[in-house]
């Protein structure tokens, strides 16, 4: 298991090199540069040329990438080309807010989705299953900015229950968490329903019922446990995706998170900031997916057994 985790983490190096190169090339290929986002109409072409020299924009993208990577290998993510602030510090300031939002959305989404998915699977083909399908369809197809705006209008403008933007109180979390959790719950519900349906006709369930095991215990201990793998994968993916920055929700609720930071960096063509954010997010993504893989072993004894078998085989070979 440890070896597997180390190998997965080592894979991060080529992944990060590729990701940063792609970002650099894409940012370079996008029309406009950081200079264009700073320009005021009084500048002349000479001023622009001088600025280009200062920001190395007169050199090739690979030169700038090489320079950036040299810094990165020394553990320096660089400074924002616009504000001059450390990219790591900027990310560090914003990340807790995104983490809070993501985790709370995930908790809400999961609490709704898993019981609903089980319920739908248990009543497959009935009106309740159809209603659940309708719920997931609405959740998946409804743009989160639209839901975010509707919540704003209802709960903040009409009944003035929650603040419209981030103000640091618990109340400001409610609407973004609902907006984020809703679409998350839709996809987890769908996954749960399908995973439960896959195991629902297995012989061991019939055996358990025949032995008189109560239905709730059959569901929780046998059905759900055997269906956990795809559900956990889905939960892990959703968490990683929201942690990568729910830019839309953050924009609607003026949430000072990573998603907004990245969008602003891209809009301002701040390559160092955009690249730094993407590298940190990609690292997080890989680590989260690794954690999901590790969680598999705890959930499913068969996977744990595979790891143990591998270890025993290795020991035997050494002996």
């Amino acid at each position: 298991m440890l070896r597997y985790a180390v190998i997965r983490l080592l894979w991060l190096i080529p992944i990060l090199i590729c990701v940063s190169l792609i970002i650099f090339v894409l940012m370079d290929a996008a029309p406009g540069s950081i200079i264009d986002s700073m320009i005021n109409e009084e500048m002349t072409q000479e001023d622009i040329e001088e600025l280009k020299r200062e920001y190395d924009l007169d050199k090739s993208v690979f030169y700038r990438y090489g320079k950036y990577m040299l810094g990165l290998f020394r553990g320096n993510l660089g400074s924002s080309e616009i504000s001059g602030l450390s990219v790591f510090d900027m990310y560090k300031t914003r990340f807790p807010k995104t983490l809070e939002l993501s985790l709370l959305s995930l908790v809400l989404g999961t609490l709704i989705a898993i019981p609903m998915g089980i319920f739908a699977a248990k009543h497959a083909g009935t009106i309740w299953d159809n209603l659940t399908t309708a719920f997931t369809l609405i959740g998946l197809s409804m743009p989160s900015f639209w839901l975010g705006l509707l919540l704003l209008i209802w709960f903040s403008h009409s009944i003035k229950l929650f603040p419209a933007g981030y103000d640091g109180t618990w109340k400001c979390y409610v609407m973004p968490v609902i907006a984020g959790g809703f679409s998350m719950s839709a996809s987890i519900t769908r996954q749960t329903r399908s995973a439960i349906l896959d195991v629902v006709r297995q012989d061991y369930l019939r055996t358990a019922r025949a032995k008189g095991v109560p239905e709730w215990r059959v569901t929780v201990k046998h059905e759900l446990r055997n269906a956990w793998i795809p559900i956990v994968t889905q939960i892990g993916m959703m968490l990683a995706m929201t942690m990568a920055g729910s830019a839309v929700i953050e924009a609607v609720y003026s949430w000072p998170g990573v998603g907004r930071l990245m969008i602003e960096a891209i809009n301002q063509r701040d390559t160092t900031l955009a690249c730094g954010c993407v590298i940190l997010t990609a690292t997080l993504y890989v680590v989260l997916l690794l954690l999901v893989d590790i969680v598999y072993a705890f959930i499913d004894p068969r996977i744990r057994a595979q790891y143990s078998a591998g270890r025993r085989k290795k020991r035997r070979a050494e002996a």
């Binding site: 406009g32 002349t44 504000s83 300031t93 639209w146 933007g165 103000d167 003026s254």
Partner: protein, 533 residues
């Protein structure tokens, strides 16, 4: 299908249809107010300015929250990124200039109490004594020299182009500084009056390069800045001038318009810029005051003179007569704007209204098009941001009526700048808005070869000479003649066609006052206050 399933399908269809219709609804529709004609002076709505000035008898809110329409990335006189659209608002609060310009374009003392020049080349400023920076350091002539020289050495910093013509800065004594230009410039004093012509303390900047340059001499000191999010300021109790009644303020950027208005209505903001769609709603709401102002910036279109078709006067005349400015105002601005017949900023000095204008006349437009080099090719209309993109769509519709084929390239600001560089030869019409100040010399941005604002790629030696002559003509009456000639040439040659001047709105809760709204959009919230009702 079973009856139960059929019923369920029907119910779901009805729910979805209702949701769809609710989403499409735009609230009640009312006719737009009739726009005033281009020759009339704009008369802005009064609201916030009618709030009584501060007195000792009333109680004020200690803290104000102000919603700003664009982000503040950095507060640093030497950083090119400081030049965002909110630079004026922040600069008014944090920095002081040597001189100030009032709303009536009158130059008044700022950090300098007196200034002299004999030849408009060498200027001697006598500085105000006992002025302190926010960290307690005294403001001296050495700081003026340091700020100007460092700005000159920092390409792209907001005052770099204005200071580029300064040849030397000589410290006569602690409170006297002599600035010499490379050539005479009658607008130099006015150039020094912009709010962002502030000064940084040499000692502080050298000791703390990261934060030193956000320490100014203004009535407010920066207590916190979260880049692209908010700026918090606290009153500078040691300010040399009048000390504001409010104690702290936060300028916050909320990108989502709906969220911004809801926050404003919920009381999260005291002041908020509002869009024309919401004006009536706020004007009719007794809780709020609304103040309007007409932007000096003229929205315009630029013809790329480097392209043979765009350089054809008959084609430009055809476009000039095909443009219905009422359409632009009604569609883009919901009726809240002033159709512009003249290229010149309406509050810019030396405005000449005795120049040719082009009325909307489809028949004339077709006649000119017939005479032009136009052969049915597709012209590209380039625009960035919401209003210019909407203008591009109206222009496309207007031009289709005379048979000109167009395609729109809608993009963002940085892309527009790189897509339309000086000297490009594409067959383009650029829809943009002019950065007019109240100084006539700001016309150089549109007409000087190589200038980023010169989207027409206009390059005529006689025009360049006239612009230089205007800057060196000391006599105001003579200078007016030069600028009149410049306007005559622009109106005749049509490198630019004006569209409209926008009317913008700022709303505040009842009791809010003290805001100076500038037609150049550099509003001054330094003395904003809110009376407890």
């Amino acid at each position: 299908m079973k009856p139960a399933k059929r019923s369920l399908c029907l119910i779901l269809c009805i729910i979805l249809s209702i949701a769809l219709l609710a989403g499409c609804g735009g609230g009640k529709t009312e006719s737009s107010p009739t726009p005033t004609s281009g020759s009339e002076s704009p008369s802005p709505t009064k609201g916030i300015s009618e709030t009584p000035p501060p007195t000792e008898e009333v109680e004020y809110y200690e803290h104000l929250n102000i919603a700003i329409g664009d982000k503040v990335t950095v507060i640093d006189l030497f950083n090119p990124a400081f030049g965002s659209s909110q630079v004026g608002i922040i600069s008014h609060a944090v920095f002081d200039s040597l001189v100030d310009m009032t709303l009536d374009n009158e130059i008044v003392p700022g950090l300098a109490t007196k200034w002299d020049t004999d030849d408009y080349k060498t200027f001697t400023f006598t500085l105000r004594e006992n002025v302190k920076f926010h960290n307690g350091e005294p403001f001296t002539a050495e700081d003026v020299k340091y700020t100007i020289e460092r700005t000159k050495a920092t390409p792209g910093s907001i005052m770099a182009s204005k200071y580029a013509r300064i040849e030397s800065v000589e410290v006569v004594n602690d409170y006297e500084v002599k600035i010499t230009l490379d050539s005479p410039n009658v607008d130099f004093i006015a150039d020094m009056s912009v709010p962002y012509a502030g000064f940084a303390n040499k000692k502080t900047c050298e000791a703390d390069p990261e934060n030193g340059s956000m320490i100014g001499t203004g009535p407010w000191k920066v207590t916190e800045i979260v880049s692209n999010d908010y700026v918090s300021v606290a009153r500078n109790d040691d300010y040399w001038g009048e000390v504001p009644v409010t104690k702290t303020m936060t300028f916050k950027f909320v990108s989502e318009e709906t969220a911004r208005y809801i926050m404003f209505e919920n009381g999260d903001f005291d002041f908020c810029g509002i869009g024309s769609v919401f004006v009536e709603q706020y004007e009719n709401d007794e809780r709020f005051s609304v103040e309007s102002y007409v932007m000096n910036n003229t929205n315009l279109i630029a013809f790329n003179f480097k392209d043979p078709l765009m350089a054809d006067i008959n084609f430009r005349m055809a476009v000039a007569h095909a443009m219905n400015r009422e359409d632009f105002v009604n569609i883009t601005l919901n009726g809240y704007g002033v159709p512009a017949e003249y290229f010149w900023g309406y509050r810019t000095e030396f405005r000449n209204t005795n120049v040719p204008t082009y009325e909307y006349n489809i028949d004339k437009a077709k006649e000119y098009l017939e005479k032009s080099k136009y052969n049915g090719e597709t012209i590209e209309i380039v625009a960035a941001m919401a209003h210019p993109i909407s203008n591009a769509q109206v222009l496309q519709e207007n031009l289709s009526k005379i048979g000109v084929k167009t395609e729109i390239f809608a993009t963002d600001g940085p892309t527009l700048t790189s897509y339309t560089p000086w000297g490009n030869t594409d067959s383009q019409i650029v829809v943009t808005s002019g950065p007019w100040t109240t100084l006539a010399s700001s016309v150089s941005m549109f007409l000087m070869p190589g200038s980023i604002g010169n989207k027409a790629n206009y390059d005529k030696p006689e025009m360049t000479e006239l612009l230089k002559k205007a800057a060196m003509t000391f006599d105001a009456a003579e200078r007016e003649k030069v600028y009149a000639e410049i306007q005559e040439i622009v109106a005749t040659e049509i490198p630019y066609l004006p569209i409209f001047n926008m009317e913008l709105f700022v709303a505040g809760w009842k009791g809010c006052g003290g805001v100076k709204l500038y037609a150049t959009n550099n509003h001054d919230y330094a003395y904003a206050y809110r009376i407890k009702q």
